[in-house]
Amino acid sequence: LIYCYRKPKTKRAKRFLEKREPKLKENTKNAMLIKGGNANLRVTEVLKDIYAVKKPFAVLYKKKNITRPFEDQTSLEFFSKKSDCSLFLFGSHNKKRPNNLIIGRMFDYHVLDMIELGIEKFVSLKDVKNSKCPEGTKPMLIFAGDMFDVNEEYRRLKSLLIDFFRGPSVPSIRLAGLEYVLHFTAVDGKIYMRSYKVLLKKSGCKIPRIELEEMGPSLDLVMRRTHLASDDLYKLSLKQPKALKPKKKKNISHDVFGTTYGRIHMQKQDLGKLQTRKMKGLKKRPAEKSAEDGGVSPKKSKSA
């Protein structure tokens, strides 16, 4: 908005542009789900299911787009700019790469990372006849397997999947509403994605016992090509502005046990003039003050 050569003439246009400009605390990332030139039924169903999971932070394009993301990214970048989406999922199918899914993200409307995954098995939302959780539930994400830490590509994939599925960032969450969990296991060069509905059962103590019910899309994926951003570009994209860092409160410290300690800085005090508890008997009479005699109390003598 600040760099607009054409000022917006209506408040609505102004709000639209303000939503899209770079901000300190960013909006939730939107995802665009695109079909390639030869997307088959399976790939289309996968896209539809992921759209259902990611609603309302996703856009599903209905028409087929004949592009090859790994060769030419301009089409994707154009779409990203038009719909203000920084995550994308591109599905296609051909003989060499059957049931292909390219998951990727953008930085500043340019492609940052792209990973191509092949779908080996897919169970759709409608194939599993269960009750589903409401739309827009923030899912719990669990990654199992040491591959997600050891291998660089898997690490980026983990970061991509977290970015894709995490949903809006919330300050607090209703504990009874933790209904959806997405579990990713990396084993044997394959990645198993399963979604479960969480049932909180009574247990003796405060923490409920968890029972899982299979629900929702489950995918068996295998990693194919990758196009990862260079290290410095990735570091640049991770950079957070200084203003977002939590301000340290000075003079407050915590110890191991959780006790909070505070530090107060005082000026030099005259300990002679400290206000302590008043003891009327020790009060100095004006006559005594001049004489500086702290012996017999004149009150006693008076009463006597």
Partner: protein, 335 residues
């Protein structure tokens, strides 16, 4: 006797407590890593690969058990967070989540602070601060609170102002309404000019990039990369004169003309070259054979025309196909 019974009771109670707790505890080799701000749990334990290899319901059962265990641990952690009842005593139990710890890349680069405009610089110099103005102003004539500007503003509708006083030193024949309109147009134009100037200043201050920057994705055409390398080579203190070349890089001949395309020979230079050139020119003029080979030129032209026609035909067909699908043209289908 009673003491033994008490001990038994205590042991039984202990057993029951342990039993309850057993249902929610999970044994893992390595502790999971949690990022509660993102509701994220990372399990580093290598999964039982043998069981997961065979496809079928057994694999599903194993995956489900693993998921159950991990979810149990995550939920246990979430339940330990400080929770309160949102919306009074009867509201739902709500846990306060910490900030997300897992570093994820941003969507767009952080906003750059823009340089102050001319007015802002002046105001800072003079110490002028912004006065907060009320949005409503009391209108004496309408006897109500009207907005400061906009629809139904306080001073009456300016389009309907039927009186425009002639100021003291002005020409009596001048059209005051025209003058007011002209002055408003000038003010608007000046404001717009200043805004654009501020924008240009900000833009100039912000972008200090070279003419042909490197594309962020690393996919760039060969010519662009060549241009960038050429610019980079020359951007040294000695203007690229002592810059070493890469092993396979061809040595670029110094263009003495400095990039100009047409070059003319010096007037009093190579006499022999001039003589030979003049003689060749005379020979060509005198000979019967034409310099231009007509057949070759015509063939070339024909080939070019054919290629253009083929390209146009292909484009037209696809265009016509698209149009045909969208609109039903009445006469065309009979063809």
């Amino acid at each position: 006797m009673a003491a033994v019974r008490v001990e038994e009771v205590l042991a039984a109670a202990e057993e029951r407590e342990a039993e309850k707790r057993r249902s929610v505890t999970v044994e893992k080799e390595l502790e999971l890593e949690f990022d509660l701000g993102n509701l994220l749990a990372l399990d580093r334990n290598p999964p039982a690969a043998a069981g997961l290899r065979g496809a079928g319901p057994r694999r599903e059962a194993l995956l489900r058990a693993l998921a159950r265990d991990n979810t149990q641990l995550l939920v246990a952690r979430l339940w330990e967070l400080p929770a309160e009842r949102a919306g009074g005593a009867g509201g739902p139990l709500v846990a306060r989540l910490p900030e997300p710890a897992f570093r994820l890349p941003r969507e767009k680069p952080p906003p750059r602070p823009r340089p102050p405009t001319r007015w802002e610089q002046f105001a800072r110099l003079k110490g002028i601060r912004r006065r907060k103005r009320t949005s409503l102003v009391w209108d004496e004539q309408a006897k109500e609170w009207r907005r400061r500007w906009g629809y139904r503003r306080a001073g009456g509708d300016p389009a309907r102002a039927w009186l425009a006083e002639v100021p003291a030193g002005a020409d009596p024949q001048e059209d005051q309404f025209a003058r007011l309109r002209r002055e408003k147009r000038e003010r608007v134009a000046r404001n717009e000019l200043n805004r654009l100037r501020n924008l240009a200043r900000a833009h100039r201050a912000g972008t200090t990039v070279p003419a042909a920057p490197l594309h962020p994705t690393g996919h760039q055409s060969r010519e662009e990369l060549g241009h960038v390398t050429r610019v980079a080579r020359v951007s040294t203190a000695s203007l690229g004169r002592f810059q070493p070349r890469l092993p396979k890089e061809p040595a670029e001949p110094p263009s003495r003309s400095g990039g100009r395309k047409r070059r003319f020979e010096p007037l009093l230079g190579n006499l022999a070259a001039e003589r030979s050139r003049q003689l060749e020119l005379l020979r060509d003029m005198g000979s019967k054979k034409p310099v231009l080979d007509i057949t070759r030129a015509v063939n070339k032209q024909l080939r070019q025309e054919e290629a253009e026609a083929a390209a146009a035909k292909g484009k037209k067909q696809s265009q016509r196909g698209k149009r045909g699908r969208r609109q039903q043209r009445p006469g065309r289908s009979s063809k």
